[in-house]
């Protein structure tokens, strides 16, 4: 079987090298990167709200693309420096125009509903990045929207771009005002509106709560988590590797993913926050499982046969590796 022998290069979404064409601060903590393909070829189009995965010295991080996705010739991302050191610090401190990075994607996990009659776009902090992509998509295709942007004064990335996107923007700089705005705007949208939110976990909780309270069914409330609530370190437990019988001790505060990796058992991973689903491993048996991810459905949790090993824990877990 010969597959994909003459696929057009515009449809490559595998691992590929890009050159940093520009790297500008858009706030003191956010850096905007323009990435051009190193081989000069075309780049794949993408659905609004898509992300790419960047190989950093400290691991693979997912970042939302800020463009509308239509016939692009470059990718653009905006990266918030996180306090934990990690990949975002590497992007801020080590990359300069001319640097080469390897990226994968785009991947769509926060796409628009194309049949929406109207959109309510909600951004908190750096969550503005996929929301900007949605706004630009809607502007290009003649859709309608209104936008809520919640930010700390002086720390709002892309404020001018979102104000210029062509839709009404409601801005909030406090938690209380964000809540008020959400309640008010959820109550006054036309039938057929879909809502999209990206931001800190606490804001997304408020968004869901107020959306449901306004009578919106779950199917209208789309959200993208970029970080889960802080997890407690958990109890130490032991994992057994099924293929070799090796027993791996997982200390409190250490993830199963890291413990396996320390023991020489490599598991592919990406977000390390229980969001992307990349590090899913099969579970042959377990005395108990503590699922802490945002990937598995309730039914999949009940089945107790897999686990996102970057965040979830358990007791006496035998992993299918």
């Amino acid at each position: 079987m010969i597959a994909a022998t003459h696929q057009h290069p515009a449809y490559r979404v595998g691992s590929r090298e890009f050159v940093v064409a520009a790297a500008e601060p858009v706030t003191p903590e956010v850096r905007h990167l323009v990435l051009m393909p190193r081989d000069g070829g075309p780049v794949a189009p993408y659905q609004a709200g898509s992300h790419v995965v960047v190989d950093t010295a400290a691991g693979r991080n997912a970042y939302s693309l800020t463009g509308d996705g239509s016939t692009p010739d470059r990718y653009e991302i905006s990266v918030l420096r996180c306090r934990d050191g990690g990949g975002s610090a590497w992007i801020h401190d080590e990359l300069a125009p001319g640097s080469v990075v390897t990226i994968e994607g785009p991947r769509a996990m926060f796409a628009p509903r194309y049949d929406q009659r109207h959109a309510l776009l909600v951004a908190g902090g750096i969550g503005i990045t996929p929301i900007l992509s949605h706004a630009r998509y809607l502007a290009r295709w003649g859709g309608t929207a209104e936008i809520i942007y919640s930010y700390r004064p002086g720390a709002a990335a892309h404020l001018n771009e979102i104000r210029d996107a062509g839709f009404p923007v409601h801005e909030a700089t406090t938690v209380a005002r964000t809540r008020e705005l959400l309640a008010e705007r959820f109550a006054d949208q036309p039938l057929g509106t879909h809502a999209y939110a990206c931001g800190p976990a606490a804001m997304l909780e408020t968004y869901r709560e107020l959306g449901l309270a306004a009578g919106w069914p779950e199917s209208r409330l789309h959200l993208e988590r970029f970080q889960l609530a802080d997890l407690d370190p958990g109890e130490p437990f032991t994992a057994t590797v099924r293929s070799t019988g090796a027993r791996v001790a997982v200390a409190a505060g250490t993830s199963l993913l890291d413990a396996l990796s320390e023991a020489g058992v490599a598991v592919a991973s990406m977000c390390r926050q229980g969001v992307c689903g990349e590090c899913r491993v099969g579970v042959a048996s377990a005395a108990s499982l503590d699922h802490r991810d945002a990937v598995l459905t309730p039914a999949e949790r009940d089945a107790a046969d897999s686990i996102m090993c970057c965040v979830s824990r358990g007791t006496d877990v035998e992993v299918d590796l």
Partner: protein
């Protein structure tokens, strides 16, 4: 649960109607109640009573489905509304199709059919949609072009109608 054109277990795209009027969804914040024909009156009355203080409600009663009136009623609603429809099968199907067209999700729609001996049929030949007395799998005459139609057991939820096609050719086989 939404009630429109759930795929029947028999393997055909047929509507499955609840045997009793569905109850009011208390998670709504406003309600649009539509009733067609005399048999729907008491159903809509019961729904209106059950809505009570759950939220504001708009009631539209008419003898037959009127596209302009239904579309106008839908356009005045806001997200958070629950739409409830009672009446003969043809009026209910056309109303549910109009609600979908306006952007309603299945979980925002509830309905009750007071009679199932009428259905809207889409004529594959003249492309007109008309209400006829027929059952899926039966035969009807297209009121627009007079073709004798097989009424396929095949419902389009978007159109709110069943497919009809020339039956004479089929009889020859």
């Amino acid at each position: 649960m939404g009630t429109i054109a759930e795929v029947a277990p028999g393997g055909l795209s047929l509507p499955v109607w609840p045997s009793e009027p569905e109850t009011v969804d208390a998670t709504g914040r406003s309600y649009l109640l539509l009733g067609f024909g005399p048999e729907a009156a008491s159903v809509v009355d019961t729904w209106a009573r059950d809505v009570g203080a759950l939220g504001p409600s708009t009631i539209v009663r008419s003898a037959r489905f009127d596209p302009a009136a239904v579309t106008a009623a839908l356009a005045s609603t806001r997200c958070g509304v629950r739409i409830m429809v009672a009446g003969p099968q043809d009026d209910v199907l056309m109303t549910l199709a109009a609600a979908r067209e306006s952007g309603a999700e299945p979980e925002e729609l509830r309905s009750f059919v007071t009679r199932t001996d009428v259905l809207p049929v889409f004529c594959a030949h003249c492309r007109a949609t008309n209400s006829v007395e027929a059952v899926p799998g039966g035969i009807a005459v297209c009121p627009a072009c007079a073709t004798v139609l097989d009424v396929h057991p095949h419902l389009s939820a978007v159109r709110g109608s069943f497919l009809g096609s020339d039956t004479t050719a089929r009889e020859l086989t």
